[in-house]
Symmetry: C2
Subunit: 461 residues, 2 copies
């Protein structure tokens, strides 16, 4: 039976299995959900065994466990390593969800007339990761697995994959492979398949500004002491200039500048600024002067405050000057910025612009290096051919603004390329309330993945 | 028996009664404490009856009730109206309290070797308000009440006395008086008695900045849309210039400029910038260029962010661009700024500096007009004489940075002057964790107040 008919025959079960998986709140950022994260790793283990892996183990790490599975049919055949993650982002702001984030519901939308599964992790990454498990099931059930396969599913991606490097260093042999396959990105549109060839890096820091040693009455002290919230705002404001360029000295020194040709090529991707603004209900886009929206969110580095807090945030009014103010700040990086270096530059600069009236702490959270996949690589060609089989058209190579720091890590530790076959859409609201994943996209992914195995094995001969 | 010996004889009971009062969390800003606020008003009613008032009533308002009490001994004698409030500030950040805010404890401190009562409201204003109740008890118990007295104790001071104007308009006759006595301020030091002659006004607003219509993944959208948190920081930063002057057009137009003589007079108050900075653990003071710390927090207007929030503020990292960011902002005003006008100026200006990529809302909370008491008024002279009786020295007239908006309201609605006899210290940490009130200050207040009644009655002849 070919993949298309197998998916058609089993789609209800495929959907129900994913729905069950999405019910477990595996929020790695919040220790309160520790048991759920652990429980999810066990569910993944069983699903890999049922899908036909010969050996599956839950590998302990300093953090959350990594689920490893494999089926080695012939050492002389190529080996595909599938990476994914079973942890999810926190769901807040929870009040903006139309249905509870961990009670999946299937609803039709304009973009998803066949229905979409609404739940935290539906697309990022439980849904996309599970496509590979079901593709594996197809290949083993139909005796259609052309090469060796290994799975490495982690539980700390949303908190910076802190234990992954540790695990890779200790398991280079076990993880040896010819190509790494990842579905944790999106495609341009359901009728415009695309393969992500570039990812941005990341530097994520938390800053703390301390003014007076205690909260003060804003009447008795207002105007006479540095207010850490006002100061934090001043300092954040200084991080970008009126052209929305980042002012940290040295920040742009190593930024890869694309040629006019490359930018012209990028500009060919279908895009409507009007539709973009309308979808976000914004009157005007905003970003670095001299670049388009698609350039700003892919080939250019950025600085965004992801969270800020300080003082009285409850109902009503409190006339207080807070002792401390905090912000979580992330910078998206591009080739060839080094995230450790950028984090240092940020720290030095942020501390240097602090006025004498306050103390400043910069705590690096995590980071990752940007990555680009060559489109002439075997893996890319095999993926392209797979999309052609199931979509009937050649996929567009696309730079994504997101970060999968571990892709660069894989190249370093395992010395192999990653192929990013994403089936989600930008509108899937990953990391947002009402995250969802189209049923059509989910099933199309399961259908397409085995074609990659076939082409990659043949092209490797 | 004179006040000194009566206080000495009853001090333990006076302290215990206040401790009981402080156990009720009458937080007017938080609806969750509604019952406690109501309960407190009943406790105050009973305490006024026990103190010798002939008539006491709990007067309903659109908000929390106002407790009214009176003892009219002779319509031809002058009438003193005592104002105070029984509500308190929220206690957060609660984790910074050394003991629970509503479980009062008495501890010795360097400034309070006789001990201080630690609890929310100990000084602001339950402790200082209750001094007047106990002074009343002394005068009636010892047949020493020289004039008529009225009490008006409200429960919404910490949320802007929203119902007070409504109450005053409807009770002008009932509240008719010759002078209003208030203890809701501080004095310079235990050995430096002072009377507050000036108060700053207030305009308190809440702002909301909306960017995209939903939270976004900072990787996929970062750099391409206006981040409401970054924008809010930019906008707040623009509200003050490098000299820490407020940039709102027209903001300073009506500010009362003091003469060199007046400023020289102010400068005579004992003050050590070094001690001030040390007490707050700050390396350097901060404020409007060209003014001293004592000027910055009394005769100059200010702008402080009292609270800010937006995005992910939980543990760990979330790479999100929030849809909305918020801040609570208060401006302290001086004579002759009109708070309604300043609120409008703020709103217009804040909306005008918003970039096209965001929507901005400004919601005025409340406000009040600044106030100055003439030192040649009968009330001021009587208060001065009272301090001389019990402190043995003439009190210093002092401008305070705080706001008691209702003082201006009293002048407008009741056409009478307020005398601010404060017995707290700046170090009492009102509105902060570990608020406290010195036992010595509390008892000294009870001892001093009856002297005011005596002098005011005599001077009125």
């Amino acid at each position: 039976m070919n993949t298309k008919s197998y998916v058609e025959k089993n789609k209800d079960r495929f959907i129900n299995e994913l729905v069950e998986l999405l019910k477990i709140p595996s929020i790695s950022a919040d220790p309160a959900y520790k048991d759920d994260v652990i429980k999810t790793s066990e569910v993944i283990k069983n699903s890999l065994l049922e899908a036909g892996c010969d050996k599956v183990e839950i590998c302990e790490t300093p953090g959350y466990p990594i689920v490893y599975g494999e089926k080695i049919i012939d050492p002389n055949l190529p080996t595909v390593l599938v990476y994914g993650h079973y942890d999810v982002q926190p769901p807040d702001p929870i009040n903006l969800w139309d249905s509870p984030p961990f009670e999946p519901v299937i609803k039709k939308t304009d973009l998803h007339p066949e229905g979409a599964i609404f739940a935290r992790g539906a697309c990022d990454d439980k849904g996309q990761m599970y496509m590979h498990v079901k593709a594996m099931e197809y290949m083993t059930a139909n005796n259609d697995l052309p090469c060796n396969v290994k799975f490495m599913i982690e539980g700390e991606e949303e908190v910076g994959s802190e234990s992954l490097g540790w695990f890779l260093e200790r398991n280079r042999e076990k993880l040896a492979n010819d190509v790494i396959l990842i579905s944790d990105t999106g495609m341009i549109a359901k009728d415009v398949p695309s393969i992500t060839t570039g990812l941005r890096g990341l530097s994520y820091v938390e800053v703390e500004v301390t003014g007076p040693n205690r909260d003060l009455h804003s009447g008795l002290y207002g105007g006479a002491v540095a207010n850490p919230i006002n100061i934090l705002c001043d300092m954040i404001s200084q991080l970008q200039d009126e052209d929305n360029r980042i002012t940290i000295p040295g920040f742009y020194d190593k930024v890869e500048e694309l040629s006019a040709e490359e930018r012209a090529e990028m500009a060919k991707a279908p895009f409507s600024q009007e539709a973009y603004n309308k979808a976000l209900d914004i009157a005007q886009e905003h970003g670095e002067k001299g670049y388009t929206t698609n350039e700003r969110n892919s080939i250019r580095p950025t600085l965004d405050v992801n969270g800020i807090w300080g003082g009285y945030t409850g109902e009503g009014a409190k006339t207080v000057i807070a002792s401390k103010a905090y912000a979580k700040i992330s910078m998206r990086l591009v080739p060839d910025q080094d995230w450790h270096e950028i984090t240092d530059l940020f720290k030095k600069h942020f501390e240097s612009i602090a006025p004498a009236g306050v103390k400043v702490k910069v705590n690096p959270h995590h980071g990752g290096t940007a990555y680009v996949t060559p489109i002439d690589s075997l893996g890319y060609k095999a993926a392209s051919a797979a999309y052609e089989d199931t979509f009937g058209k050649t996929p567009i190579p696309q730079r994504s603004g997101g970060s999968i720091p571990i892709v660069a890590l894989f190249e370093k530790e395992l010395n192999s390329k990653s192929i990013l076959m994403g089936f989600g859409l930008d509108s899937d609201a990953i990391h947002s309330p009402n995250e969802h994943f189209g049923v059509w996209n989910y099933l199309k992914g399961i259908e397409t993945i085995p074609h990659f195995y076939k082409h990659f094995t043949e092209m490797s001969k």
